[in-house]
């Protein structure tokens, strides 16, 4: 958020430079950076993207923060707006506001082990953090990515996962909830990878992103592995409108997720996440 926003409610017009299908209902859009807002962003932050005539939704950055000229967002078609975004072709225009929200606490991770725990599409907001961790690899201890998703065909960023898996300085484990042959990887929920990871609980910082239920189970499993709640960070999702902490749509207990999140420390939201009405 270094760049002052002149009118933070008014979207910039950006053009789609390229699209890439990651899974049956998931696309990555690369935006023309000349026309997108001049954004350096912190891993974990998001933009509000407008499909004109349909609506506006929060979507996390999924690209490399060291390449501000390549703004990338990975979108899953779940409803009207997200589906319209995934249908945009090269050259199509969309609205962009941002960047908004808090990022992953990478400065706090210096000198420590870091485990990234992604569920489903949650790997998209974690990818910029991994790019940065790998770019500054010597500053961190053990680095692991534990990724769980629905089935083999839902695995995102396959080619990169293969490249990451080949690295000696990064542990990558992928599991799927459901599989038929010929999948030869892990089958079981992502928490089973946490139990197997043998984390050094005093040294490890955990960054968790995925559906809320998955994050709650992951946080419990991390706690059982000895991690303090202060060493666990989640990226929350709530229905958002303004992105600026003024409209109140994304309130969760005492937090406004668009401003105080999406990345929050677990001990700050643990109780609120247990309350059904919130």
């Amino acid at each position: 958020m270094d760049t002052p926003l002149l009118d933070p409610l008014r979207p910039h017009i950006a053009r789609v430079r390229s699209t890439r299908r990651e899974a049956p209902d998931v696309w990555t859009l690369e935006l023309d950076a000349d026309q997108a807002p001049p954004c350096g962003f912190a891993p974990g932050q998001f933009n509000m993207l407008t499909a004109f005539g349909v609506g506006e939704v929060p979507i996390s950055f999924s690209g490399d923060p060291a390449e501000p000229g390549r703004v990338r967002h990975t979108v899953r078609a779940v409803g009207a707006v997200s589906s319209a975004l995934t249908r945009l072709d090269c050259g199509a225009v969309l609205g962009v506001r941002g960047p908004f929200g808090t990022g992953w606490p990478l400065p706090e991770a210096v000198g420590r082990d870091v485990v990234l725990i992604a569920g489903g599409l949650g790997i998209a907001p974690l990818r910029p953090a991994l790019y940065q961790l790998l770019a500054e690899r010597a500053r961190y201890g053990r680095l692991s990515l534990l990724y769980g998703t629905r089935g083999p065909r839902d695995i995102l960023f396959r080619r990169e996962l293969e490249a990451w898996r080949a690295r000696a300085d990064l542990t990558v484990e992928v599991t799927v909830d459901h599989a038929t042959h010929p999948w030869h990887g892990h089958v079981g929920v992502v928490t089973t990878l946490i139990e197997r990871a043998r984390l050094d609980s005093d040294r490890t910082l955990a960054l968790v992103c995925g559906p809320e239920v998955m994050m709650r189970f992951a946080a419990e499993a991390l706690g059982a592995a000895g991690l303090a709640a202060e060493a666990i960070f989640l990226s929350l999702e709530r229905n958002m409108h303004c992105g600026l902490g003024t409209c109140g749509h994304c309130q969760l207990g005492g937090l406004l997720v668009c401003r105080d999140g999406p990345v929050v420390r677990y001990d700050r939201v643990r109780d609120a996440l247990r309350i059904r009405e919130l």
Binding site: G119, T180, H181, G185, R196, P211, V213
Partner: protein
């Protein structure tokens, strides 16, 4: 035998176990090795031995008509393979197939059940440990059932 006891005591399932219990369990145990593709457990067969996995990965597989072989879970080093030996009628509910070369400690189920019946302190100690595994697997199975990565429209 002594080496088996040490391996058993070092397995996460038995971490912190009293040495005399490790010795008792060791008396029911032997080393095994399976090649990729080999079956460790066969659906419907009598649950005579269970395994403390040391190396390699094993898939629990269920064959469903029209859907082929479905892997419901994979297990790896440090984990327990086989729980149906704990309760009657002591029959495996899945096939378990080695995905890689697997090294494990096999434990004779009837032998351990008999020792637990004769020494309830051992039985209680074991029950607590196996219960921990079962509860974690129940939670995991429920999370798997929730299909949290779906769209739920």
């Amino acid at each position: 035998m002594e080496q088996l006891e040490q391996i058993i005591a070092a397995h996460p399932l038995f971490a912190g176990l009293r040495p005399e219990y490790a010795r008792l369990i060791g008396g029911c145990a032997h080393n095994v090795r399976f090649e990729p593709g080999q079956l460790l457990l066969r659906h419907g067969a009598s649950a005579d031995e269970f395994y403390l996995l040391r190396h390699g990965t094993v898939a629990l597989v269920l064959t469903a008509a029209g859907r082929g072989a479905l892997t419901v879970q994979t297990l790896g080093p440090g984990e327990l393979l086989g729980v149906s030996w704990l309760v009657a009628p002591y029959r495996w509910m899945y096939d378990a197939q080695a995905l890689e070369t697997v090294g494990a400690i096999a434990i004779d189920a009837a032998c351990l059940r008999a020792k637990s019946a004769a020494d309830h302190d051992l039985g209680f100690e074991l029950a607590q440990r196996f219960m921990g595994v079962l509860v974690r697997r129940l939670h995991a199975a429920r999370l798997q059932l929730l299909d949290v990565y779906g769209t739920h429209r």
